[in-house]
Each structure stands twice: as structure tokens, then as C-alpha cells.
Amino acid sequence: MNWFQFLGLTLPWLIVLGASLTVLFLGTLMKRGAHAVSMAISLLSLVAALFLSWQHWVADVTVSMGMMSFGRMTFLGWMVIAIASIFTVLLSHDYLARRKLGHPEYYSLILLSTVGMASLIAGSHLMLIFLGIEVMSIAVYALAGFLRHRLSGNEAALKYFLTGAFASAFLLLGIAFIFGTTKTMDLTVLAEQLPTVLSGDMASWFLFGVAMVLIGFAFKIAAVPFHAWAPDAYDGAPTPITQFMATAVKAAAFFALLRVASPLVVAVGPGWAKTLWLLSAATMIIGNLAALMQDNLKRMLAYSSIAHAGYALVAFPTLSTQTPELVHGVIFYLIAYTFMTAGSFAIVAFAQGQGESADVSHVAGLAKRHPWMAASFTIFLLSLTGFPPTLGFFGKYFLFSGAIKNGSIGLVVLALLSSAVSAYYYLRPIVVMYFHESREGVLERTSPATSLVAVVTIAFLAILYFGIFPSDLLAIVQRSGM
């Protein structure tokens, strides 16, 4: 094993790890200006990670080293989580400054969580994948309860922690069973051994292990029936962290699930395809129906993120190593979803102002006072619904057309029907923004912070540009291989 090459490949995240520790110490030792410095260091390290991942992507290295395997798909995943984390850091500064909560630990935990995600995405060994999930989650448990004087903040952290720890136990149990029956945790070796194991007398124990691993992942991506923690955790967490949970955490979990699913879950046989079919259908339908009832924007977006996990799961029942278009559909969808969700949460954070409530009435009259913010939010919501010419439309288009080609027509019909339902709750904030008078004092007259505007602008431009020229983004995804 060439250690210099290994260090070179993991350099983006070593920088982020170093920045995390620097922020922890520098922020604690500095008496004044710690918040701004912490934010600047975090932002710079994440931008460096994004740039270096891009460089790796351009260099197109494909190599397996120890427990990690690198390839264009890995680097693409790294870029997605780097972008999502950059959005979070940008949103956080203003949000924390208003609440006088600018602790260095906050940024340090975000960076540590991102490092966990990076190893989760690059992991080709079940132990590293488990470790990555844990590093990612434990940091987010603490971040979810960062508003510790708020009752619902504590509720969010506790619910997320208890269910998340429970899910990790399932995942670990599953890994133990897989290791017990196959004597390996390496995914490539597992894929080779699969036929022997499935015809052997240990097959049922192995399948039990696979089921447990699937449950563990379903918790992390908040698929029904393992979604119950999501609305409360999303609602109680600080809004930038909600955005982090909905974009970076979910994208990283999906990248890992793609890597685990094709050798393990899907190759096992038609019984598993049915399980994934049910998981996907239940997630879309329940996510969308529950979102209809929400007056709270954060809860609405939480259920919407559950529904979107259901759409992405449409590709999984027929996933295999022979279906690159399905993998590309999921990745494209994840990228689209990251931009539109990050943008939406930026607007929610702005509409919240000093308060913590995220009721839909907060955006009333937004169109009059901040027409650009209202227009951007409209685009984000239309994109989430899947209207052309936005990125969300093409995300759904590539995903569903790939699924139809591979024969899951029934599931795609369900997905289309449930996304028609979703139009109702996505269009409601638009109506409120443009046609409702703002209540006195609900929406401040203050102009949005620069960093918040930056997030909205980047997301807005990305959604419109790639919505009009989707082939550019698709080319990047397709060249990333499997």
C-alpha cells in the first residue's frame, strides 16, 4: 500500500479534520472574534476540500486501498457533501450571531461530521462504513440539541440520539451476522462470495444480517417505517443543522447505500426487491400525505425530505451492476435535492428572524418586502414539486425514466401520483408569500445577511442553470462511472 498516495487522496478531509481541531482550540483560546474566525476557517477548509475533490475527480484515479476504495463516484460524493456543508456553514453565521450562540464547538462538530461522511462514502469495508456513520451521527446528535435552552431542541437531540443509537445497533448486528456467515466484511470480496453463501446452509443467517443492515440504513435516510424521529428532530434542531441533516447527512447515507446495496441487498434476490419496493412506496406515500397536514415549514420540509428519500428509493429494487442509469439517476436526484432543500432552508432561516417558530405565516408578505427572496423560494418549491424548467424536474425525469427502463412501472406510477399530491403543500407557501398580508411584526424589515444571500443565490443559479441545461450536470454524473 502506497501511503503517500493514500494521504494525497484523503488530503481534502485531512485538511477539514485539521481545521476542525484548530477551530476547537483557537475558538476556545480567543477571547474576542472567535465566532468569525471559526466560521472563516471552517469555510476555507471546506472550500479547499471541494476544490481538491474536484481535482481528484479530474485526475480520475480509481484505486482500492485497505478499507477504502476511491473512484470518480467517491469524489463526486465528496463534492456533494462539501457543497452541502458549505451551505450549512454560510447559513450558520448569521443564525448563531442573532442568538449569541457562536461557539467554536458548533463549527468543529460540523467539520467532524463531514469527515465521517467522507469516510462513509469512500468506505468499501462494512466496518469503516459503520464507523463513518457513527462519526457522522454522533456529531449531529450534539448539534441537533444546540439550542439547549429550548425545550424542543432537547427533545430533538434526545429523540434523534436514542433512535439513531438503536439503528446503529441494528446495523452493527447485521454486520456481525454477515461477517459470521462469510468471514469477510469487505464489499468486493462479499460480492464474489455471494453465490456460495446463498446456496450454503448459512444462507438464512446471512439474509438476517442483510435485513438488519437495511434497517440501519433505512433509519439514517428516514425511510418509512423508520422515519418517526425525523419531523421532531428537524423541527427542534437549529435551522442550519436541519438543513445539514436533510442534505449532507442524507446524501452521504444514500451514497453509502448505493455502494452497499448493489452487492448485498439487491443481488440477494427477488424477495429483497419486493422489500425495497414496499419501503419506497410507503416512504413516498406517507411522507407526502403527512406533509399535507403541516403548518410548520420545518416539519413540512422534514416530511418532504422523507418523500424525496422515497423517490430516490424507486431505483433500488432493480439496481444491479448492470444498471448504471439507475445509479446515475439517484446521484443526479441527490444533487438536485441538495440544492433545492438547502435553498429552502435558507429562506426558512431568514423568515424565522430572531424567533424559533417556523410557522408558514412567517413568509406572509415576503413577496412585497423581499421580492427576490420570495422569487427564489418559489423556484425552490417548484423544483421540489418537479416542475420544468427546474433541476427538480430533470432529477425526477432521469430517475423515473431509468426505473421504467428496468421495469418498475408500478412504482413509478405511484411516485408520480404522490408527487402530484405534493404540489398542494409545496404551492401553499407560495400562495401565502404572494397573496397574504404579513402580520404585524412577524417579518422583520431587516435585510438578509450576505452569507444567507450567497446560499440562496448559489442554489437559485444552480437550479435554474442545470434546469435549463441538465445535460451538463448529467455528463458529470455519467462520467463518474458506478
Binding site: 481541531l21 476547537l24 482550540f25 476556545t28 483560546l29
Partner: protein
């Protein structure tokens, strides 16, 4: 593997000897100051009988968390020390040493953070 059995026996004997030396040694060396608290079970300063809703300083929990840092360190150091010789024979001694140094370094940073943050200052 007879040697393992003997070493285990040796460890057991050592534990008994250390325990005996401590108990017997203190009764010879120390001064006996008898008071009521000395006769309650578990001399850790907590009254074993009392209201279950009594309050306890959060600092105890902080100490427990700090303890975990060192606990985890030792938990990993023992198996590492056991297999280290095999790795040296395999020519991977330096690698293992560096990896343990990285692990200890990260733990030391965590400890340093606690120190800087003032978690070790008992009096406010």
C-alpha cells in the same frame, strides 16, 4: 499454550497479593481516625440511604466523561500491545507505532481541549 495458563495464574496471584498488601499495609502504616462515615458501605461520600430525588453536582458526570477518554485509550492499548510483536516480526512495526501515535495524539487533543475549556477546574 501452557504459557498462557501460567501467566493468567500469575496475574490472578498478583491481584490477590496487591489487594492484600494494600489492605494490610494501610492498617500498619496509616493512622486510624474512626468516625461514623467510615462505617457506611462504599466510602465514596454518598449516603446510601436517603431520598432518591437528592441533587448531585453535574461535575461528577463530567469526571465520568473525562474518565472515558482514558478508559478507551487503555482498552485499545492492551490488544495493541499484545499483537505488536507479531507486527514487528512482520515488518510493520513502524506502521503500528505511527498508528497508535495518531490515536493517542487525537485523544491527547481531546484531553487538551478539556483542559483549555476549564473542565478540570473543580471550583467554578
Amino acid at each position: 499454550m501452557n504459557l498462557n495458563g501460567i501467566s493468567l495464574l500469575f496475574l490472578f496471584a498478583l491481584a490477590v497479593i496487591v489487594g492484600l498488601v494494600m489492605v494490610v499495609g494501610t492498617s500498619f502504616l496509616g493512622k486510624w481516625r474512626g468516625n461514623k462515615a467510615r462505617f457506611i458501605p462504599y466510602e465514596c461520600g454518598l449516603d446510601p440511604v436517603g431520598s432518591p430525588r437528592s441533587r448531585m453536582p453535574l461535575k461528577f458526570f463530567l469526571v465520568a466523561v473525562i474518565f472515558i477518554i482514558f478508559d478507551i485509550e487503555v482498552v485499545f492499548l492492551y490488544p495493541w500491545a499484545v499483537v505488536f510483536r507479531d507486527f514487528v516480526a512482520d515488518g510493520k512495526g513502524v506502521l503500528m507505532l505511527v498508528e497508535m501515535a495518531v490515536f493517542l495524539g487525537i485523544l491527547a487533543l481531546g484531553f487538551g481541549y478539556l483542559w483549555v475549556r476549564g473542565a478540570l477546574e473543580w471550583e467554578e
